[in-house]
Symmetry: none
Subunit: 147 residues, 2 copies
DNA sequence: GGAAAACTCCCCACTTTTCCCCACTTTCCT
DNA sequence: AGGAAAGTGGGGAAAAGTGGGGAGTTTTCC
């Protein structure tokens, strides 16, 4: 499965298209077939899962019981924002309006590699996000990983 | 089996027809033969199962114990609203009056992909539904899917 | 029983959106 | 410095969405 890292800012053209950095494109496995599933991020950004990685998530959701009210709601909330997009001949994807609105993306986008997914941020929204984070990296690492 | 995702609003014409999004149409397996079974949703919406998926549901219901009063009632309630519809040449289905009345659908419909089924909502009814949901997505995910 | 109304299922026609392709500019690498 | 790869922009064909006409069937109601 692909692992993404790095970050770069790209322009979003009038048609809502953004280039995916060449480095990340080459990290894609053939199984992903140049296709991503975009969803709302937990933060104010768009998550882009390569097709093969998304498949795994989807399998988890498909096993939830439809007869459970909360499970139905969860599946609805997640899947309704999910949208499949493919790379065009120039290595770009086009961002659905609903998602770019949610993430507040205008004519620039910050693309961040985050392990099994790529995150697409509005540059200012990402700045704001950073400001909100008070804990320094060292402390964070200890809290999360130091047992 | 087809897996549906995404969401889009479509108009319902004077004849009660709605387009099924092209993305969802292409997710249909050949076995579904462009046919859906519509039923009352558990929420105030219409559920549309592709023919092959509906078959599975039907099998589940048929295995319920006929000697159980509640089971008999459940099956009755579900089947009495079930209606089979097919895509026309333009990729639309027509909504039976009884079901669109139940869902409160007027001249616009919100189509949501929810795994093995498609949901058809009145846009305002869906807004209301969202208002009623209090739990945020992260909490919900934890409750439903475990740690 | 028969006419009128309603509904279904074909069409066809028009508008809008999407996506595919080509071309130009910029950056990177040797 | 020069060539290749990466990034950016736009035009045009094809597909998707929308609306309506009209034949054939069913339902309704007098």
């Amino acid at each position: 499965m692909a692992r993404f890292k790095g970050q770069a800012a790209y322009s979003v053209d009038a048609k809502g298209r953004v280039a995916i950095p060449a480095k990340m494109r080459s990290a894609l496995t053939p199984e992903a077939q140049g296709t991503f599933t975009l969803t709302k991020g937990f933060e104010k950004c768009i998550y882009a899962y390569p097709q093969d990685g998304w498949k795994v998530k989807e399998d988890e959701y498909s096993e939830l019981n439809v007869n459970n009210r909360k499970a139905r709601h969860l599946v609805r909330m997640i899947l309704m924002w999910a949208e499949e997009v493919s790379l065009d001949g120039q290595g770009r994807i086009s961002l659905p309006r609903s998602l770019s609105d949610y993430a507040g993306i205008g004519d620039r986008a910050l693309i961040i590699g985050a392990m099994d997914r790529i995150e697409i941020w509005d540059p200012e929204a990402f700045e704001d996000y950073l400001q909100e984070q008070t804990t320094d990296q060292e402390t964070l690492a200890e809290e999360v990983m130091g047992s």
